[in-house]
């Protein structure tokens, strides 16, 4: 019998504690324990990016991340984007307006990667090129959009940033 471990993290802005089985993955903790179904189990092998969430500012695949290593960290899922006055984050708005969402299976992961990357680039005052944006999104498989619209949406997020 395994010894369950108590962890505390900041999940979508709120401090939460829970007990986890040491070998459980973050994706399962988020979906099963916290009922946050935004991170999708696609391949569960690190290939598709459907399970991406943001930890301390970095997008990671939650299917390859031990839940216990979220201890003390700030975890953001798609459910944590947006705010009270603005239901959708700018990333989500741009994805919608550019037709970057079709079936939607890949979209939450894509949004998290764009979000993490755009926050980092804005902090550094850098506006990435289209090639750099593509490189950032290479870990996301989409069987619907053909990627162009996703990349257009991401580019638009940076256009927005430069106007501010």
């Amino acid at each position: 019998m395994n010894n369950w471990v108590e962890i505390t993290m900041k999940l979508n802005g709120k401090t939460v504690s829970c007990r986890v089985k040491p070998s459980s993955l973050l994706i399962d903790l988020l979906r099963d324990e916290f009922k946050l179904k935004g991170a999708k189990p696609g391949c569960l092998e690190g290939e598709c990016g459907a399970c991406a969430v943001i930890i301390d500012g970095n997008a990671i695949n939650s299917c390859m991340y031990l839940a216990i290593n979220a201890e003390g960290k700030e975890v953001t899922t798609i459910e944590g984007l947006g705010s009270d006055d603005n239901l959708l984050d700018a990333v989500q708005e741009k994805m919608l307006s550019h037709g970057a969402v079709q079936c939607g299976f890949c979209s939450t992961g894509v949004a998290m990667s764009i979000k993490a990357y755009s926050e980092k680039m804005k902090a550094l005052g850098i506006k990435p090129t289209r090639e750099e944006i593509k490189k950032t999104l290479e870990g996301h498989l989409c069987r619907c959009t053909g990627y162009i619209k996703i990349i257009d949406a991401a580019e638009a997020v940076f256009e927005e940033g430069s106007e501010m």
């Binding site: 690190g46 997008a59 695949n61």
Partner: protein, 287 residues
């Protein structure tokens, strides 16, 4: 997937955990991008994971430099390397290798220690470090350290020289002795993104002001059970002027690189294809 986990936060807790588990079946876990898939493919019974992801000590985490070398903690991630100015400017081969690993999400967690200790012949960052003639600093449960060149540390697929009471602590890269370098990482995969190397060639040349190759480091990946350092190819090219190599010299150089290749055919590529690719990218280095 079911295993016990011990999570040390300091070096002494880590050494204590390794000592306490000597009689048991245990694995070290860092970024888990190799391990999780391995655990799923080949479940092990009664397994304990010593989870080093929460170690705070700088020695496992930072990138430091002095006049002789630059050092990387085993927990430095591919993204950490990409964000480091020294690595970007002085060791492009390592930066390009880190950038070619999988995807942003994986680069954010994949550690250099895991890339090395997984001991895959197609490990990109490990290949760049072989070309840079890096050394491994290894720590044992008594707190003693030993150093070994990376090229001999890797013994075969999934095999290193690490003993059960040891852990990889740090990687040490000798400083460049020249400011003029030609350094890079040629990776051939089946597609552009998210691809494990079919073949790679890691190279790091240091040149005199007048363009003569003074030092050379070349490693090739996915063409042998380990990542060979092509020393005969290096010896051949040293002393020559980089921009004035004749065609027969480029061919001779590529032939010498090929001496280190004993590729296998697998699901990704045939041995014949790997040989051809290695020859062509070696020759094309100077075009």
């Amino acid at each position: 997937m079911d295993f016990e986990v011990v999570t040390p936060h300091t070096q002494s807790e880590l050494l204590g955990a390794i000592a306490a588990n000597q009689g048991k079946n245990f694995r070290i876990g860092a970024g888990y991008t190799d391990l999780i898939n391995q655990f799923k493919l080949r479940p092990e019974r009664d397994l304990t994971v010593i989870n080093i992801a929460q170690i705070r000590e700088d020695t496992f985490r930072n990138i430091s430099k002095n006049d002789r070398c630059i050092e990387l903690g085993a927990l430095v991630t591919a993204s950490d390397l990409l964000g480091n100015d020294t690595v970007r400017k002085e060791f492009p081969v390592l930066c390009e290798a880190a950038s070619s690993v999988a995807s942003m999400q994986i680069r954010n967690t994949a550690t250099i220690g895991g890339n090395i200790c997984n001991a895959s012949p197609s490990a990109d960052m490990s290949g760049a470090l072989v070309a840079l003639q890096a050394r491994c600093r290894i720590l044992n449960v008594k707190g003693e350290r030993r150093e070994e060149p990376l090229v001999s540390f890797i013994r075969g697929p999934r095999q290193t020289s690490l003993e059960k009471h040891e852990i990889l602590e740090r990687i040490i890269i000798p400083q460049n002795t020249s400011a003029v370098i030609k350094s890079g990482f040629e990776k051939i995969g089946a597609r552009k993104s998210m691809e494990i190397s079919i073949v790679f060639l890691a190279y790091h040349f240091q040149l005199s002001e007048s363009g003569i190759i003074e030092k050379a480091g070349i490693a090739c990946g996915a063409v042998a059970p380990v990542i060979p350092f092509a020393d005969r190819a290096c010896a051949y090219i040293v002393g020559k002027r980089l921009n004035e190599l004749k065609d027969d010299e480029k061919e001779a150089f590529a032939q010498k690189v090929m001496e280190y290749a004993a590729p296998i055919s697998d699901i990704r590529a045939s041995a014949w294809y790997r040989n051809e690719v290695l020859y062509n990218i070696s020759k094309a280095l100077f075009e």
